[in-house]
């Protein structure tokens, strides 16, 4: 799973995908939730609208009934008469008057009874109290829940019972005029439509919190007493909008609806408590969140599965390159390549490595082995023990003839030959200088009294590693091109010193100088990396080998000395 994680492009890609998928998931989830909440609120609003409609229609119906009953009073003389007896009378007065003016051939009409029979019953219990007022006081008829009638006579207008309170209900006033003289007002009816029976009718609606608020700020809680407070309703009442979301001044997040009644001075306020709503629908919300999460995880899994597959191939390619860089050409092809560009690259790379390997084997290793075999054959032809023993014999013979110089030269030659054959290809500059010194001391014997050499190299240079056998070719160059056999003073000096940034080795002779044109040619051949044939193969070979070994740290300069001879400078940068 994590294999693609180690590859940067896939890691970045995966992070980008993850961010994208999570963002999409969040947006989708939130949008779904928002739509659902909107729908729930819309449902609640519909419910509220119909509840409000119901209240309004009930009120309308009730007032219609009252109006109709008033018509009945005016149209029925006897009823009117009874009403007038009732108006402003005491209980005894009323009863006495009724009886006094009753006619035997007519049934006794009773205003309260009539009202109960026609108005109360048609208003389905909404009517809780009817009072008939004069200027000073009133007589009132009360209906209990079960429809029983009770009376009170001579109650002053200022009595508590006539205070208009939302708690009690809505008061509908009707003037009572003299039927004979309409303009004369003789009293006033006050019909009380009870809040309790009125609002009970909307309890069947699904309302979270509902309350009626009067114009004076009285609150009548209809539902939601359990978790709501009057405070919330009052805050909502302060809202100027008809509906919307509000935090109710920090109390609670709600959706509120404000309905203004056209009949009476009150408002119906309904609230949807959002947290309550969330709690109610927690199951649905959890399902949505869960399914969005599930979708996100499966998309990410799919992506990482795809990437792992790609990464495996990329890794294969990287590994192949790494192996080839360490000169490991063993084939490492997977059982199957993918049928896409990755597979193509992987297969081509493996093919390339294979071809390269084949090439190296045939062109290079084979030839090397051949040379090695030839070398071995040569070495076996001349048994080294035989060679060195013979040299020792010759040395002894020289000593017998008291020729110490020859004896020493033979010892040096033997040791030089041994070093050349047996030393590793990579040695220190100190060892390389020893080889040179052996060679030069033999040359000294070859040209007695005509050749001098001096080696003066600082200690720090001696420990630097180098390739074997590059100083002798430089010295040989001098003996081939620069040496003057007729001069007594052929001189070769090797200087070496450490500078701050580099090590310098200088090979100075006093032989023939190189003509300027030829020097240019030598330099050109040396620095151009082509394999152009150069006359001084030795110099070219030394330059190539040291370049390979030291890389860019190495520089070689060749120039004529002012007096005579040539100076070859080898510079090895530090670090």
């Amino acid at each position: 799973m994590g294999s693609f994680w180690q590859i940067k492009i896939y890691r970045n890609k995966f992070i980008a995908y993850t961010v994208f998928v999570v963002a999409i998931g969040l947006v989708l989830g939130l949008m779904t939730c928002a739509v659902l909440i909107y729908q729930w609120i819309e449902g609640a609003r519909n419910e509220a609208v119909s509840a409000f409609g119901r209240v309004e229609s009930e009120l309308q119906y009730d007032t219609d009934r009252i109006e109709a009953y008033m018509q009945r009073i005016y149209s029925n003389d006897r009823l009117m008469t009874d009403v007038r007896y009732f108006l402003g009378n005491t209980a005894e007065g009323y009863l006495t008057s009724r009886l006094e003016y009753s006619l035997y051939n007519e049934p006794l009409v009773s205003f309260p009874e009539d009202m109960r029979a026609f108005l109360y019953s048609s208003m389905k219990g909404d009517l809780t109290q009817v009072s008939l007022h004069t200027e000073n006081g009133a007589n009132l008829v009360r209906f209990s829940n079960s429809g029983n009638v009770s009376f009170r006579f001579g109650v002053p207008n200022t009595d508590e019972i006539f205070r208009e309170k939302l708690e009690k209900g809505f008061v509908y006033r009707k003037k009572l005029s003299d039927p004979n003289q309409i303009s004369r007002q003789i009293g006033e009816f006050r019909f009380l439509i009870g809040s309790e029976p009125l609002f009970r009718k909307i309890l069947g609606y699904k309302l979270d919190i509902a309350a009626a608020v009067s114009g004076t700020g009285e609150v009548y809680m209809i539902t939601g007493m359990d978790h709501g407070t009057q405070e919330m309703i009052l805050r909502a009442a302060e809202e100027t909008r008809n509906s919307g979301f509000s935090s109710l001044g920090g109390l609670k997040n709600v959706f509120f609806m404000n309905f203004h009644s056209t009949k009476f001075d009150y408002r119906l306020i309904m609230l949807v408590d959002l947290s309550h709503l969330m709690r109610e629908k927690a199951g649905i919300l959890a399902t949505i969140v869960g399914s969005v999460l599930l979708a996100m995880i499966s998309v990410l899994m799919l992506i990482s599965y795809n990437m792992r597959d790609d990464a495996r191939f990329l890794k294969h390619i990287i590994n192949s390159i790494k192996r080839v860089k360490t000169a490991d050409f063993t084939p490492n092809s997977p059982a199957r390549y993918r049928r896409n560009e990755y597979g193509m690259i992987a297969r081509e790379l493996d093919d390339m490595v294979h071809e390269l390997d084949k090439h190296i084997r045939t062109e290079y290793l084979l030839k090397l082995k051949q040379q090695e075999t030839e070398m071995k054959a040569l070495q076996h032809q001349i048994n080294p023990h035989f060679l060195y023993n013979t040299l020792e014999s010759i040395r002894s013979t020289a000593l017998l003839h008291k020729d110490v110089d020859t004896a020493d030269a033979i010892a040096t030659l033997g040791s030089l030959y041994r070093d050349i054959v047996h030393k590793d290809n990579i040695i220190t500059i100190g060892e390389e200088l020893e080889l040179l010194q052996k060679f030069l001391s033999i040359m000294e014997l070859k040209y007695p009294g005509r050749f001098y050499y001096q080696i003066d190299v600082e200690d720090p240079l001696l420990a630097i590693s180098t390739v074997k056998f590059w100083m002798q070719p430089l010295a040989e160059n001098f003996f081939v091109h620069g040496f003057n056999p007729s001069s007594e003073f052929n001189l070769l000096v090797v200087n070496g010193w450490e500078e701050e940034e580099r090590f310098v080795l200088e090979f100075v002779d006093n032989g023939k100088s190189i003509p300027e044109a030829r020097l240019e040619e030598v330099r050109r051949c040396l620095y151009s990396r082509e394999d152009a044939p150069v006359r001084s193969i030795g110099l070219r070979n030394v330059y190539t080998r040291l370049s390979f070994f030291y890389g860019d740290a190495f520089r070689m300069e060749i120039e004529n000395n002012e007096e005579a001879g040539v100076k070859i400078t080898v510079i090895i940068s530090k670090g």
């Binding site: 080294p384 023990h385 035989f386 060679l387 060195y388 023993n389 040299l391 020792e392 014999s393 010759i394 040395r395 002894s396 013979t397 020289a398 000593l399 017998l400 008291k402 110490v404 004896a407 020493d408 033979i410 010892a411 040096t412 030659l413 033997g414 040791s415 041994r418 047996h422 000294e444 001098y452 050499y453 001096q454 003066d456 001069s487 007594e488 003073f489 001189l491 000096v493 100075v508 006093n510 000395n561 002012e562 007096e563 005579a564 001879g565």
Partner: protein, 253 residues
């Protein structure tokens, strides 16, 4: 006095080894040679050598096997092996039987010398006093044996000694070497720790002193003969070098 045994199956090499070092000078007065294993064991037991040099192969036998055998006899001998082989196994076997050193053929004189001197000092509790002294040729000015100086410096010193009476300078020497004179002067200074001109002056003074003490030549002609055409200059230099005038020196003697 030390005793030396050399074992090799080639008589020529035995003779050569006897002459490779001036053994006498190191205190070896008895040098025996053998060519076979039996002979080597018999000789060893007979003379009990201080140092024995074995070839790694004595006919069909191996040198270090003979050494092993001699080790069992508990001889107080220090062994050196010489060999044409530089193979690791031989060297390892040799080291295992307590050989002091493993010299490769053809034998390098200076290496053998180092080993022998080391054995004399460390194992035989001898000293090297009096060695090199008699035949050593020391430069009178530098106090260094000529052998320890490079051939180039020797050559320059030789030129001074041959030509000090003439007008020799560092420049003329360098011209003959076709070298930059500063460069050559530095080479000379580095090895002798003395400037060429200082050396030349000192050598001339030495020669002048010699002549003043041993002849009755006139100072002016002596000055001329050691390369000072200007007599006043000679006097100044002489006074500076010896702290007295040439005539004072002659009077003193």
């Amino acid at each position: 006095m030390y005793k030396l045994l050399i074992v090799d199956d080639e008589p020529q090499i035995l003779e050569g080894m006897k002459r490779t070092l001036n053994w006498e000078e190191y205190g070896f007065h008895l040098i025996e040679t053998c060519e076979t294993r039996e002979d080597a064991i018999a000789k060893s037991v007979e003379i009990i050598p201080d140092i024995a040099i074995f070839d790694v192969r004595i006919g069909p036998d191996l040198g270090y096997e003979i050494i092993q055998k001699l080790n069992e006899l508990r001889l107080p001998t220090q062994y050196i092996i010489m060999s044409g082989y530089s193979e690791f196994e031989y060297a390892q076997a040799a080291i295992r039987c307590g050989v002091k050193d493993y010299l490769l053929k053809p034998v390098d004189r200076s290496k053998l010398q180092t080993v022998i001197e080391k054995i004399i000092v460390e194992d035989l509790n001898g000293d090297l006093d009096g060695i090199h002294k008699q035949d050593l040729n020391i430069d009178p000015i530098l106090g260094i044996p000529y052998e320890e100086l490079s051939k180039l410096t020797n050559r320059i010193l030789l030129m001074v000694k041959a030509e000090y009476a003439q007008n020799i300078t560092l420049k003329s020497v360098a011209e003959r070497f076709r070298m930059n004179s500063t460069y050559l002067g530095q080479l000379f200074l580095k090895e002798t720790r003395m400037k060429f001109s200082e050396y030349l002056m000192a050598y001339r003074m030495l020669q002048a002193k010699e002549q003043i003490l041993t002849t009755n030549e006139k100072i002016s002609s002596i000055a001329h003969s050691v390369g000072y055409p200007n007599l006043n200059y000679f006097y100044t230099q002489f006074q500076g070098y010896f702290g007295m005038s040439p005539s004072d020196l002659r009077k003193k003697s």
